[in-house]
């Protein structure tokens, strides 16, 4: 199918209507389960990549929670996003072991290379950088995880140079360099 980018949304109009259909299935299944809200939000984010205003509105109508309450929950947890992210999400570990092994230098290198800061996305929508507390691979510190729609890869024992090489590898794969 030809994907047509809509100016205001990260999904094309075809994908968008199917995404809303998926969301409705989730809501039908879970709307009356106690403690449903976080699970619904997690599934909605899986479908849309982030939580657009319209989605929050639709969840509010279906579950009976106020939009304000949902917004409160969304902004409380680090996992939820109110803006779309790049194709490759870089989760850079800033845990203790990574910190003492030089994660700050790695962050500096990545930020310098991409021209973005923590929680920002590159203008070409390729990379988003998120600092995270701990990925639990402390023995390989410093570590980062690169997430795409269908994969999660962890890379360890990073240096500023190897981190940039990693970014270049992705750019090569994308045919950008």
């Amino acid at each position: 199918m030809e994907h047509e980018k809509d100016k205001n949304h990260s999904l094309c109009s075809h994908c968008q209507s199917s995404a809303y259909a998926q969301l409705d299935l989730v809501l039908d299944e879970l709307k009356d389960t106690p403690g449903n809200l976080i699970i619904i939000l997690q599934k909605a984010q899986e479908i849309f990549g982030y939580l657009p205003r319209d989605v929050i509105r639709r969840i509010a109508t279906a579950t009976g929670h106020t939009q304000a309450k949902i917004f409160g929950v969304v902004t409380f947890y680090a996992q939820f996003r109110l803006a779309p992210i790049g194709k490759y999400l870089i989760l850079l570990c800033q845990g203790t072991a990574c910190h003492v092994s030089g994660s700050l230098a790695v962050e500096k290198a990545i930020c310098g290379e991409l021209g973005i800061k923590d929680k920002e996305t590159t203008p070409d929508n390729l990379f988003t950088l998120n600092n995270v507390a701990c990925l639990g691979c402390c023995s390989l510190a410093p570590v980062l995880m690169i997430k795409t729609e269908d994969s999660e890869e962890t890379y360890g024992n990073l240096t500023p140079d190897s981190a940039i090489e990693l970014l270049d590898e992705i750019r090569r794969k994308e045919g950008l360099i």
Binding site: P34, G35, N36, L37, I38, I39, L41, Q42, G72, V73, F76, Y77, A78, Q79, F80, L91, Q94, G95, T96, A97, C98, H99, V100, S101, V132, A133, C134, L135, G136, C137, C138, S139, L140, A141, V143, E152, T154, Y155, G156
Partner: protein, 583 residues
């Protein structure tokens, strides 16, 4: 014959999937029938990827650091010519790393295939559940756990049996068992390893807790950052259900117990009991005032047993060997073992499990192989952002709940981050305060505002704006926050600061009084000077300096105006004669 490749998160990050795939390829190409299986993390993270080859008599040869390019050699020698490749098998020091441990919770990790329930059953799994159902009443199970002296492994150290007993005696008909798998302490990954390497053991512990307390439903609250653990838990749950260990009428006993998984959404405070249950209920994860305690009003306002992964993973062993045998491990009042994650500047990074009361010296030097790169040991940070620092004077201190409390530290969930002589203790304290400050949920003022101010004060020290008063204010504020914050996160937030000030007062004073960072880590204290002997006056440094702080004319020694210098370090790599020195 069979081949097992360690595929925990760290093994996979070291390339274990590729190694496993190459073995499968070779086997197929030679038309052999040798299964290549998955196993969890053995704890030898520094030797990953690890490959175990079993012969038909179940004798195992263990290869370490098996990078994909080594597969061909091992395959040809071991599989085709039946001669183990001794140069690549585990080294004596790697073997010693394993042999010096006592493993209960991690016993099967890295040995069995976590995705096959039959592997777990073959290693004695679910026998404790059968025994609990056949030989004990619920009250007797609670007594057994009490008698064993098992204390919560998540950090608090509350007696597990007493907690179960309190839930069992509640009159409410609906009760819950909740497993805290929200292992948020940076530097701790034992729970992840258990879930990835032996998920059934923890499930068995939870089912026994359900039977003992009369709960019919269990929840596992696990971090979303642990996708592999979630994947293996899901497999384990469905296999346990198919085999009749979980669900309706467990093993024909007439008792029901089911477990569901809830993914955490990334909030450190949700490791706190009342915040965790609020999060499962779909709320903001904010702690509430206690009492009522979780055992009385926990999840959905019902009596709730809340234990962490490692605690549940100890339960089957206690049921199998009995309270007395379990108590023989460890020290009085601190029975059993504790898993620790060894990380930081240490030679052998990984996961270990040792009897309670083992000394720091044994852990760091005998098992961990000492400090990396031959540097001197400075301190070890224990218990994450709630814990404290231990120094060389504590090397012979037995690590257990009570001894650590006496020196102002805590076992926490068991992260041990080793720091060498080059680590600045002020910036470590700042690192932890930055973490707790960001993770504060904002409900109570002492934590929300107090941690923020403490961070500002630490910034003052790191950025060379502080005086001796700053240290006094830190201690004063730390006391107040510790006494008045609502939950554990706030109460313990000042610990890393107070403990580093107590243990490394001189280092703090060096910063604020002498204007020196003894380790040279704090940028604001660095001074850049040009060596008269080495400088040839080429002027390259002058050109790169963004603030024109370097002065001098061509072919004459240059100088740096320290008042203008912003310590950006740009000049150092620009000099071809190493003439710029940092002091």
């Amino acid at each position: 014959m069979k081949i097992l490749v360690g595929q925990g998160s760290c093994g996979i990050a070291s390339g274990a999937k590729k190694t496993a795939a190459l073995f499968s390829e070779k086997i197929k190409a030679h038309h052999l029938d040798i299964p290549v299986g998955v196993t969890g993390c053995l704890g030898l993270c520094y030797l990953e990827p690890i490959v175990d080859i079993y012969d038909d008599e179940e004798n195992m040869t263990r290869y370490t650091l098996v990078k994909p390019e080594m597969v061909a050699e091992i395959f040809e020698s071991h599989i085709l010519n039946n001669t183990p490749l001794y140069s690549k098998v585990i080294s004596p020091s790697g073997q010693a790393f394993l042999e010096k441990q006592t493993r209960i919770a991690l016993k099967n990790c890295g040995i069995i295939n976590p995705e096959e329930i039959t592997d777990y059953i073959r290693s004695g799994g679910y026998s404790a559940l059968r025994k609990a159902l056949a030989e004990f009443t619920p009250a007797e199970i609670c007594n057994l756990i009490s008698d064993s002296g098992l204390r919560g492994r998540g950090g608090g150290g509350f007696p597990t049996g007493r907690k179960w007993q309190q839930v069992r005696t509640q009159t409410e008909s609906v009760k819950y068992v909740v497993c805290n798998a929200d292992e948020g302490d940076p530097g701790a990954f034992m729970d992840r390893s258990i879930m990835e390497g032996d998920p059934h053991k923890m499930l068995e512990g939870m089912i026994i807790a359900g039977i003992a307390t009369g709960a019919k439903e269990g929840y596992i609250y696990v971090r979303a950052e642990y996708p592999l653990a979630v994947h293996r838990l899901r497999i384990a749950l469905s296999q346990a259900k198919e085999s009749g260990f979980l669900g309706k009428n467990i093993l024909g006993s007439g008792l029901d117990f089911d477990i569901q998984i809830n993914l955490g959404a990334g909030a450190f405070v949700c490791g706190e009991g009342s915040a965790l249950t609020a999060s499962i209920e779909g709320q903001r994860g904010m702690p509430r005032v206690k009492p009522p305690r979780t055992v009385e009003k926990g999840l959905f306002e019902k009596p709730t047993v809340l234990n962490n992964v490692e605690t549940f993973a100890n339960v089957p062993e206690i049921v199998n060997i009995g309270a007395e045998k379990f108590k023989e491990i460890g020290t009085p009042n601190n029975s059993g073992t504790k898993a620790f994650a060894l990380t930081g500047n240490i030679s052998n990074t990984g996961l270990i499990e040792v009897p309670m009361g083992t000394t720091l010296r044994t852990i760091i030097f005998d098992i961990g192989g000492g400090v990396k790169n031959g540097k001197a040991f400075k301190a070890v940070q224990i218990g994450g952002p709630s814990g404290g620092c231990l120094t060389s004077t504590h090397l012979d201190l037995p690590l257990d709940f009570d001894s650590l409390e006496r020196v102002g530290a805590m076992i926490g969930s068991g992260g041990l981050v080793v720091m060498d002589e080059d680590t600045c203790m002020v910036s470590i304290a700042r690192f932890f305060m930055n973490f707790t400050q960001e993770e504060s949920c904002g409900k109570c003022v002492p934590c929300r505002e107090g941690t923020h101010i403490m961070l500002e004060l630490l910034d003052d020290i790191v950025e060379a704006r502080a005086t001796e008063m700053t240290i006094a204010s830190l201690l004063d504020l730390g006391d107040t926050i510790g006494a008045t914050a609502l939950c554990g996160l706030g109460k313990t937030a000042p610990n890393p600061v107070i403990s580093t000030i107590t243990q490394f007062k001189d280092e703090y004073l060096a910063h604020v009084v002498d204007g020196v960072c003894p380790t040279g880590q704090c940028q604001a204290y660095r001074k850049y000077i040009v060596s008269e002997e080495k400088c040839v006056g080429c002027g390259l440094c002058r050109k790169v300096c963004p603030v024109h702080a370097i002065i001098g004319s061509t072919k004459k020694t240059h100088t740096i105006d320290t008042k203008k210098c912003i310590r950006c370090h740009s000049c150092v790599p620009s000099c071809k004669f190493d003439a710029i020195e940092v002091i």
